[in-house]
Symmetry: C2
């Protein structure tokens, strides 16, 4: 897995410029890269802090960032205790969607003598996590505001459902805005403020200014991009910073070649908006299609290609979804501006919960 | 990810007994567990050696085994050089399906002063790798037999296509037998012998005696089993040795709960024979269905359950495909016969090519 530093820098700059232009705080999601070095680059480009999905990621990223948001509903004792401990040395916020999680975090923070900031997770249409109504959001916010060791910081939404296509995205973002208005007006009528209104996801990131209430964004994939972003029209091929360099290991079966990247390298993730496109894009052979993966084999249909890659040839593949691919590597290759490769450690991979 | 030692021992014994009963050598595929300790257990149960998919796995497993088969077509210089080196201190065999791979391995072994055993990979119907005809198998075997630093050891087949259901399996195995007869008769007429005829895959393993020519089998998944094996009828629920212990982290959305296992834990692999079953089996709630995965979230449809799991509750999930799940962990939990948990290192995960 080779990462191009020039493309990374360009991707980081573009998002930082967008956020600055629209007065939005940028809190990149570190689950995409899990690398302290890349997190430090994001902070150098003006990020307000980092987003993480696991407590283990927060612990690793606390070495380079002092402001961390766990965009994940921590409820169990192992998670809440570790978060409360981390909150003694960094600003820690957690998104929660239940009274139980708020109580558990308050208990843990009380025991540790720390304070945990809370964002109330509001479902704006994805249907994954998040309270369902403004009333529930108010009840949870009031609980948090009254808790001894919690601090009500605001609201978190994840408009992941707005990624499918540009047309549906406009409607979905409008609905996000309406839902936020409803929740925030109810909070305001009850004397509660949301200092932070946090939105997320790379495909919607550059349209975040369409949702007026947002104060920050949490894109992750934008640092590398992937075939889902490119085929979805959210960026161009040149914006892809991470590619898998593969070797053709078999050409024995007519009409196909086999590359040494299977599901243990590319993952079985399909493009959500184009499930027939296969398991990644072969840059040098755009007509080729990676039709089937075993764990270490990628079967590439070459019947649409004028010529097929030769045995032993190297080809580059842009994965459908870069985040879980990075998560498979202990270390990747970082291509500097001089073209030289050096190892880049994926520091936070393999961390528990 | 918790592994039950009692079930592992039973699974290992069953396969060892079957192999012994039918005079078959057992060469378990270590890609499933990537653990030196589990490999050593397999050898203690009488395995003749180990199968691996990557040179890095071979290097790690060489610390516990002195007889290794790379069931993967090594052709590039990094792989062939490392294999040739390994062959100076262990018996190393490689399955190849091209003259080019045989030449590359011969060159590397000559440079290193070692000898590499070769199995000719013959496609018996899966259409992934393997020479297509008896004539090609003969030509490759003759090339290998004439090479200075290679040793022609036999044939490798992978009847992965015979896993779909019992009815198709019988027909597929009969076809494997016919193809092997054809190749081996041609070899014999040309004065070549196959000391080893190696077959693979867990679903077909216990029917390997139906293919008379086989001398060894290479099952991998049998050590743990998974939902693909259970739902396919190849084993029972009690034979599942590896489960993901999950916590319910959100119940905010009606009709579903969210568990803390997503695609970075369960992978996006579906059951090949039942693509509608979801992303794993929830043992305590068999009517539940894991319908959607994000990286760290598993959305579980609970509408068919009489009661749904509570927030914070622990549930056990049997993954669809255990091999790539193990590959996501640096360390898993080993439950001893006394019920105590201890860490088990996944020694060979994250190794290159």
């Amino acid at each position: 897995l080779v990462i191009d530093s020039t493309v990374v820098e360009r991707n980081l700059r573009r998002m930082a410029d967008y956020a600055a232009e629209h007065g939005l705080a940028l809190r990149p999601h570190a689950k995409t890269h899990k690398s302290q070095r890349l997190a430090a680059m994001q902070l150098a480009y003006g990020a307000a802090g980092l987003t993480v999905a696991k407590v283990g990621e927060a612990e690793v990223m606390a070495e380079v960032a002092d402001d961390l948001l766990l965009a994940y509903p921590a409820i169990d004792a192992p998670r809440t205790a570790r978060l409360a401990r981390l909150a003694t040395r960094a600003t820690v916020r957690v998104a929660v969607d239940s009274l139980e999680a708020a109580e558990a975090l308050d208990r843990a923070a009380q025991e540790e003598g720390s304070t945990i900031g809370i964002l109330v997770d509001v479902d704006v249409g994805l249907g994954r996590t998040g309270v369902q109504s403004a009333g529930e959001a108010l009840a949870l916010a009031q609980k948090v505001a009254a808790a001894r060791s919690l601090r009500l910081d605001g609201i978190l939404v994840y408009p992941g459902h707005a990624s499918l296509n540009a047309e549906r995205q406009e409607a979905a973002l409008a609905e996000v805005g309406r839902k936020l208005d409803e929740v925030l007006e109810l909070w305001e009528r009850n004397g509660l403020q949301a200092q932070i209104v946090s939105g997320g996801s790379t495909p919607t990131a550059l349209r975040s200014h369409r949702v007026e209430r947002l104060t920050e964004i949490r894109p992750g994939t934008y640092i590398f991009n992937d075939w889902t972003q490119i085929s979805g029209g959210w960026c161009s091929l040149d914006d892809s910073a991470a590619r898998i360099e593969c070797t053709v290991v078999s050409t024995a079966v007519p009409g196909q070649v086999v590359i040494d990247a299977g599901s243990k390298t590319l993952t079985s993730d399909l493009c959500p908006n184009d499930r027939e496109s296969g398991y990644g894009h072969v840059v040098e052979y755009p007509e080729a299609r990676i039709v089937k993966l075993s764990e270490e084999h990628g079967q590439v249909d070459t019947t649409a290609c004028r010529r097929r890659p030769a045995l032993g040839e190297r080809v580059s593949v842009i994965p459908n979804h870069i985040c879980p691919c990075i998560n498979l590597q202990d270390s990747v290759w970082w291509r500097g501006t001089d073209g030289k490769l050096e190892p880049l450690s994926i520091d936070a991979r393999g961390r528990l919960s």
